[in-house]
């Protein structure tokens, strides 16, 4: 039974890894992957010597770090607030609505936000109401990045809260009872029981998001950006896609490989660090 699965996994997951050799070749389609000439690290030299790849890396890191800074705690806060709601029906309805955006692709969400932030949209309606001139939110560098971060949180926070709510329901009620007897009010209980109990989950999710630091949300950016904001919104993945469409396959592969290797090193490294710091108790595996 394991054999067909093994064959599938090797073909569709490991053969592409072997295909990474074209990052070290001057790939010519007619010569094939193995017939093309070796060029050593030349593609990487070309990549880092170019103007736009270092910019793409800088943009990717900027967007990822902004997302981590403003977005990492959003699901935690949402879960803590939901946890305090006593009316169960209300809590469930709120939850259902907050993870609704998670179920739609960025083609759909991008289409909606292009309308909402567009010149005729409701946001500019408010701007006009305040007597100001309409703002081109989507072609202004700073506004564009702000929109990326905010709509990213809008889409992900509700879904992200689920895992924290699961951790919250796993906390022993005895801890709260003991704290109540000791005279701790709900705020103190949250500070000294609830939040410490969430830390292991937070560390796990933080490690996983570090691995994606060079990812920065391709689907969202591709469906929202336009040439006016390329200088701040062009990320590694959009760079790879454009090089690929431009048929510079070796360069595109080298860029993709750089991203993959950095991601792998970061996940493995941060997991090792988390285990060391917690003396083997925490980490993803």
């Amino acid at each position: 039974m394991a054999l067909p699965v093994l064959v599938y996994i090797i073909i569709f997951h490991y053969v592409p890894m072997v295909g990474l050799v074209i990052a070290f070749k001057d790939y010519v389609m007619s010569d094939g992957v193995f017939g093309s000439a070796w060029v050593g690290w030349a593609n990487f030299a070309r990549l880092f010597g170019s103007n736009d790849f270092p910019v793409a890396i800088r943009n990717t890191l900027t967007i990822s770090l902004l997302r981590l800074t403003f977005g990492f705690f959003a699901p935690v806060v949402l879960a803590l607030l939901l946890n305090e709601v006593r009316q169960l029906g209300y809590k469930r309805s709120i939850q259902t609505l907050t993870y609704l955006p998670h179920f739609f692709s960025w083609v759909i969400l991008g289409g909606i936000f292009l309308m909402i932030f567009g010149s005729g949209g409701p946001i500019n309606g408010v701007v006009k109401l305040l007597g100001a001139k309409p703002v081109n939110f989507l072609s202004d560098d700073v506004w564009f990045i702000t929109i990326l971060v905010v709509t990213g949180i809008w889409q992900g926070a509700g879904w992200g809260a689920i895992i924290y709510l699961a951790s919250l329901s796993g906390i022993s009620p005895q801890l709260y009872e003991a704290a109540t007897i000791d005279g701790a009010n709900r705020w103190r209980q949250t500070l000294h029981i609830t939040i410490p109990c969430l830390v292991p989950t937070m560390i796990t999710l933080f490690i996983l998001s570090l691995g994606g630091i060079l990812t920065a949300g391709f689907d969202q950016i591709y469906n929202l950006y336009n040439p006016m904001v390329y200088d701040v919104a062009d990320i590694v993945d959009t760079y790879v896609l454009r090089r690929m469409m431009g048929l510079d396959l070796s360069l595109a592969t080298a860029a993709g490989m750089f991203k993959g290797v950095v991601g792998l090193v970061l996940v493995v490294g941060s997991n090792v660090a988390a285990r060391k710091l917690s003396k083997g108790e925490q980490g993803v595996w």
Partner: protein
Amino acid sequence: MKLSRGEKLFGATNVVVLGAVALLCLYPFVYTLSISLSTAAEANRDGFHFFPRDISLVSYRMVLTNPNIVTGYMNTLLRTVLGTSLTLAATCIAAYPLSRREMPHRAMLTFLVVFTMLFSGGMVPAYLLVKNLGMINTVWALTVPGMITAFNVIIVKNFFQSLPESLVESARLDGAGEWTILFRLYLPLSKPVLATVALWTAVGHWNAWFDALLYITDDRKQVLQTFLQRIVIESSTQMMELGITDTSIVQFTSETIKAATIIVTILPIICVYPFVQKYFVKGIMLGGVKG
């Protein structure tokens, strides 16, 4: 439990704040629905557009009679049904041996699966593989490469391992082979986790667009999301995409057509969402289990 005044005040504020958050999550969809039902003049009016004041179904008529949208719908339906079936079958077949303790080299095989979560060949080698296998412009390009994912395999494997070992032992005594154990014993007991995987995969296929962008160049094979993308994002060419050449009907603003296309695309998900969301939530809990 007796609440202090501060706690009561917090409780009330919390209910209001969360209500506002939920409305904020819903509003973009309400806005889109409202615009899609508006006349051109109504859609151009400044405001929040909670409800259309002047209703028109013209944009829906235009979207639903657009041959590209109809083709896209059929192709998306095909990839969703085929892709979900393939994923379910393959995931079970992959998870079963990994869940059995007597499986030789189990740790190494598990590592091979898990490693695919951490590293992949990336866009270009994946494209070349699909191309060399002759899958370009077929539904196989959209269903086979993502058929088995490490995440699905791990959650199904974990579920299988939670089933009592004595069941397998007694089935063996009755002469059951591995396939019988998987199909007659494990699968009927695993409905919740299989429903979760199926629903996740189905929504994933309905929403998928990037693989179609890379692998499908023939418009007759193209999926709904790609057509939506062209209408919504490549707005300069939208009138051409919709096949509108008669300038007398261009008075309908593109906004209402965009909105109607979006609503037509998300309608199937909205319809099943209230019924299936508990499975999704269950799935994330299963996935959150370590190991």
